[in-house]
């Protein structure tokens, strides 16, 4: 188990290292460079100044040596300064991460709270009216462009009804209160939930239907257990297994969804930070943001695999690759 864990963590680190190299190279290919932007804003700048600035920021070095310098600084905990915010990158990430974790966490809970009853309801009578209706709603949920759903929600609840704010984290001028923060969270959470709940429901429904045709479910029914008990005690527990893995794999989609949602609703989280950093040539910030997002995704799938082993005693992760 420990060997497996270490192996997986090493694997994740390798992926992150490769990703950082690839991203570092790509960021260098973005339009313009930070010195051009700085010098464009200052009419008094001379070519000598530009050369000096480039040397100061190491931009006169070839890309691989800049990358190596970045890695060795990063290993010592120095991830550099953000150009956009003029702050250490880690400070900004520390600011933004809780916002995104909150958004993702609440959405995940809401999505699961909807997906479980819906899937159980649908799986009770596959092909029935309820199943077909739920299936159709799921298809809609998978197919709706998340940013358009966000626009529709804004039109309905902010423009037409005026019940909820169209974006932002708190009302300007007013005193910051938890209630106000929650009001600003409703539409983003609804958007992110809608983007994920359909996939969860479909996974869970398929797993439940599969499990419900097993012999032990027939046995449970034959000994006279109520349908509810069969569903919750016998079917659901076993259906959870494949769903846990899929949840782990869907974690990346959740992170991508958070980027759209935060951008649409002006939530100052990691997603919007990454987008702004890429658009604003803030290499250091974009790089770290992307690595945090990728790291979180890898961690998500690792946790899912560990939960899988915990839920199913038949599975053991041994060092000899017995997975």
């Amino acid at each position: 188990m420990l060997g497996y864990l270490v192996g997986r963590l090493l694997q994740a680190l390798t992926v992150l290292l490769l990703l950082s190299a690839a991203t570092y190279g790509l960021l260098g290919l973005m339009p313009g460079d930070p010195i051009d932007l700085m010098s464009g804003a200052n009419p008094d700048i001379t070519p000598a100044d530009i050369a000096r600035l480039k040397a100061l920021h190491g931009l006169d070095q070839p890309i691989w040596s800049r990358y190596l310098a970045w890695v060795s600084a990063a290993l010592q905990g120095d991830f550099g300064y953000s150009r956009l915010y003029a702050q250490p990158v880690l400070d900004i990430v520390a600011d933004r991460l809780p916002v995104t974790l909150m958004l993702i966490g609440v959405s995940l809970v809401v999505a699961l709270a909807i997906a479980f009853p819906a899937a159980m309801f649908a799986a009770r009578n596959p092909g029935g009216l309820a199943d077909r209706a739920i299936n159709l709603v799921c298809f809609a949920g998978i197919s709706v462009p998340p940013f358009w759903l966000a626009l529709l929600l804004i039109i309905l609840f902010a423009v037409i009804l005026g019940w909820l704010p169209a974006g932002g984290m708190a009302s300007t001028g007013g005193e910051a209160s938890t209630l106000d923060r929650l009001r600003h969270l409703i539409l983003p959470v609804a958007t992110l939930t809608a983007a994920t709940v359909a996939a969860y429901t479909r996974h869970l429904r398929a797993a439940l239907i599969e499990v419900l045709s097993e012999d032990y479910v027939r046995t449970a029914r034959a000994k006279g257990l109520s349908e509810h008990r069969v569903m919750t005690r016998h079917a659901l527990r076993n259906a959870l297994l494949p769903v846990v893995t899929l949840l782990g794999l869907d974690f990346g989609a959740l992170v991508s969804g958070a980027l759209i949602t935060e951008t649409m609703f002006a939530q100052l989280g990691m997603g919007k930070m990454i987008y702004d950093a890429i658009m604003g040539n803030d290499y250091n910030l974009a790089l770290v943001g992307l690595l945090v997002a990728a790291g979180a995704t890898l961690l998500g799938s690792l946790l899912a695999d560990l939960a899988y082993a915990r839920l199913d005693p038949r599975i053991s992760y041994r060092a000899d690759g017995g997975s």
Partner: protein
């Protein structure tokens, strides 16, 4: 094929959308308008006989722009889905047929791509300045390059789904008698994979390609919406929504139509893909 009402509606809708997009120039002629013509005096007009859906923020006819946008969005969707499926098929065949280490490595990569947060990475790739890669500025800015770049990017992340399906099909086909026979006859592995295994894996490939179209249209719309895919003045359903967000208080109508068409396209494609899977997968009958 167990065609339900939903499948027929989905197929019909797709056919209508595709026809409408293809015949956009005819509609332009019939209406006597120019889809690109900017008329600032008639911006944001409500629907009228001259403009059935009204005009956008630059006074262009909304219906015509939707039709032309559909050309781009649907073409990108179809092209990228086909390219992604072709890559996925090749990788899936190789993994399934060769097995062993090749299989392990390829499937690890596929899992890695599926698990990564794709959107942020796509944004980075889409923002890369092609002139820094040595493309001439004209070519780098052209409309065709933007479309080609989008097709390549989206296929780069779209192939794993097909690869997994094709691999699964190949694994079971590999042990069938006719493949054994071909091997006994001394055919090369490449020939066996292409001539004997591939044709029999056509069903999952078809299903995966259909389902991929939906995903690709979504990715295109998100990237174009964020200003990184198809760039104005070329309309696409995604980039038509970019301006709409700023005008949401003035004229919410602009935000409705392009998104509705994306939604209808993707929902139809997904319903069709699902129906195809049920029709082509014999196991689905027992599962229901």
């Amino acid at each position: 094929m167990r065609a339900t009402l939903a499948t027929w509606v989905a197929g019909g809708l797709l056919a209508v959308l595709a026809m409408a997009a293809v015949t956009a120039p005819l509609a332009e002629l019939a209406m006597g308008l120019d889809a690109q013509a900017v008329d600032l005096f008639s911006r944001l007009q409500p629907p009228s006989p001259a403009h059935p859906l009204g005009t956008d923020e630059l006074g262009r006819d909304l219906l015509l722009r939707l039709l032309y946008g559909g050309q781009v969005s649907l073409a990108v969707g179809l092209a990228a889905a086909v390219v992604a499926s072709a890559i996925g098929t090749g990788i899936g065949l190789a993994a399934g047929y060769l097995g062993g280490r090749v299989d392990a490595v390829l499937m690890r990569v596929a899992d890695g791509v599926i698990a990564l947060p794709l959107l942020p990475l796509l944004i980075v790739l889409a923002a890369v300045d092609l002139t820094k890669l040595g493309f001439p500025p004209d070519a780098a800015q052209s409309e065709l390059t933007a479309i080609a770049r989008l097709v390549i990017l989206v296929s780069l992340v779209g192939w794993p789904v097909t690869a997994r399906l094709v691999r699964a099909a190949t694994l079971s086909l590999r042990r069938r008698e006719f493949v054994e026979a071909a091997r006994a006859l001394g055919f090369s592995p490449l020939r066996i994979a292409l001539r004997h295994v591939l044709p029999n894996a056509a069903a999952p490939i078809l299903v995966a390609t259909t389902l991929a179209v939906g995903n690709v249209v979504l990715f295109e719309s998100v990237l174009s919406f964020l200003g990184l895919g198809i760039r104005p003045p070329t309309p696409s359903w995604g980039n038509m929504l970019t301006g709409a967000q700023e005008l949401i208080w003035e004229d919410p109508r602009l935000a409705i139509w392009p998104g509705l068409l994306i939604f209808l396209t993707v929902v139809s494609v997904n319903l069709l893909g699902d129906a195809l899977r049920d029709a082509l997968d014999p196991r689905a009958l027992t599962r229901r």
